[in-house]
Amino acid sequence: MIPRPLQITLSIAVVCYFIIILYYLKRRMLELKYTLIWLAAGVVMGIMIYFPELLVRFARMLGIESNMNGLYILCIAFILMILMTLTAIVSRQQMKIRTLIQEISMLEKRVREMESNAGNMEGREK
C-alpha cells in the first residue's frame, strides 16, 4: 500500500500535470488530438495512486515478480508508445510539407509565366 502522505504528494503532482496540459490547451499551444494520449496517461497515473493493487495484480498477470519492475516496464512501454506516435506524426507532416512545396513550385511557375505574358501584352499595347 502507498502511505497516505506520499499518496497526497502524488495526487498534487498529477493535478499539476493536468493543469499544465489544460493550460497549454487553453493557450492553443497543443492540439487536443495529440494531447489525448497524455490525458489518458494522467488518468492511469491517478488511478494507480489510489488503487496500487491494480498494478500489482497486472504485474503478476504478466509474470513480473517485483512491483517496482512492473511499474518501470509499464512506464517505459507507455513512453515508447508516445514516441512512436510522435514519429508517425512527424512522418505524416513531412509528407504533407513535401506535397505543399511541390504544389507551391508549380504555382510559382504559373504565376511567373502569367506575369511575363502580362508584361509582354502591356509592352505591345504601348
Binding site: Q94, R98, I101, K109
Partner: protein, 236 residues
C-alpha cells in the same frame, strides 16, 4: 507524336545546367523539359532566370526523390504522354532518348531504364559500387521477378500510367531502386535499354563511401517494405 517531358532535377548544378539545357534546346527541340531546382544555394536559380529556362523552384531542399516527384506531378498536370528523368550534371546523353521511346513502343513497356551494364560501354563506376548495384539488382529480381541490371540508373523513361503512380507515390531519398519496385508492384512492365553514360564533369556524386553503408541498408529495407505492403494495396 507523343508529348515528351524531360525532368531535370538540379541541386547546386550552376556549373552544368547551362550546358545541359543548351544541348537540349538546340539539338532536341522536339522534347519539352523542366528543371526542378531543389532549393539550390548556388547560382542555379539566377542562371535559370536569366536564360528564361522552364524551371520549377522548390523553396526548400527536398532531396532528389522530392525533386523528381515534382517533375512527375508537373508531367501529370500538363498531360504529358511520356516523362524521362535525367541528371542535371550532364551524365545522361539525350541522344538515346529517341531509341528508348521506340524500344518502349516495340516492347509495350511502361518503363524503360537506360542501363550502363547491358553493353558495358562508357563510364562504368567503381568495382565496389558495382557490387552494391548487383546486390540491389538481384534483390529487385527476387522481390518483383524483373531483372534490372542498372537498378540505380537515374535515366528513366515512363509512360502515363507510371507518371500517375510516381506523381502520387515516390520515395524521398535514394529513390531509384525503390521506385523500380513501386513501378513493378503497380503492374508496370519494366525494360532496360543500353546507353552510354558520361562521367560527370563538375560537382561530386551524391553518394560517397561514408554514406554507402547507410545507402545499402536504407534502400534494401525500403525495397523489402515496398514489396511487403503490396499485399495490402492489392486488396483495395
Amino acid at each position: 507524336m507523343a508529348r515528351v517531358l524531360i525532368i531535370i532535377p538540379a541541386y547546386n548544378e550552376a556549373g552544368n545546367i547551362e550546358k545541359v539545357i543548351d544541348d537540349l534546346t538546340t539539338n532536341y527541340p522536339q522534347y519539352d523539359y523542366v528543371i526542378v531546382n531543389d532549393g539550390s544555394t548556388d547560382a542555379t536559380k539566377e542562371i535559370c532566370r536569366e536564360n528564361h529556362y522552364h524551371v520549377l523552384h522548390l523553396p526548400v531542399n527536398l532531396g532528389i526523390g522530392g525533386a523528381v516527384q515534382t517533375g512527375y506531378r508537373y508531367a501529370w498536370e500538363n498531360d504529358y504522354d511520356l516523362a524521362v528523368q535525367i541528371d542535371g550534371d550532364g551524365q545522361h546523353d539525350v541522344s538515346f532518348l529517341q531509341d528508348m521511346i521506340a524500344y518502349m513502343d516495340e516492347q509495350g513497356a511502361d518503363c524503360v531504364i537506360g542501363s550502363r551494364f547491358v553493353r558495358k560501354e562508357g563510364f562504368q563506376s567503381s568495382g565496389l559500387r558495382r557490387t552494391g548495384i548487383q546486390f540491389l539488382s538481384i534483390l529487385g529480381f527476387i522481390l518483383t521477378g524483373v531483372r534490372v541490371r542498372d537498378i540505380t540508373s537515374g535515366y528513366r523513361l515512363v509512360n502515363r500510367k507510371l507518371i500517375r503512380v510516381f506523381a502520387l507515390d515516390y520515395p524521398a531519398d535514394y529513390p531509384e531502386p525503390e521506385a523500380m519496385v513501386i513501378a513493378a508492384v503497380y503492374g508496370g512492365r519494366i525494360k532496360e535499354y543500353p546507353v552510354v553514360m558520361r562521367e560527370r564533369e563538375n560537382g561530386t556524386s551524391s553518394i560517397n563511401l561514408k554514406r554507402s553503408v547507410y545507402y545499402m541498408v536504407k534502400v534494401t529495407l525500403a525495397m523489402l517494405i515496398r514489396r511487403l505492403s503490396f499485399g495490402v494495396r492489392r486488396q483495395k
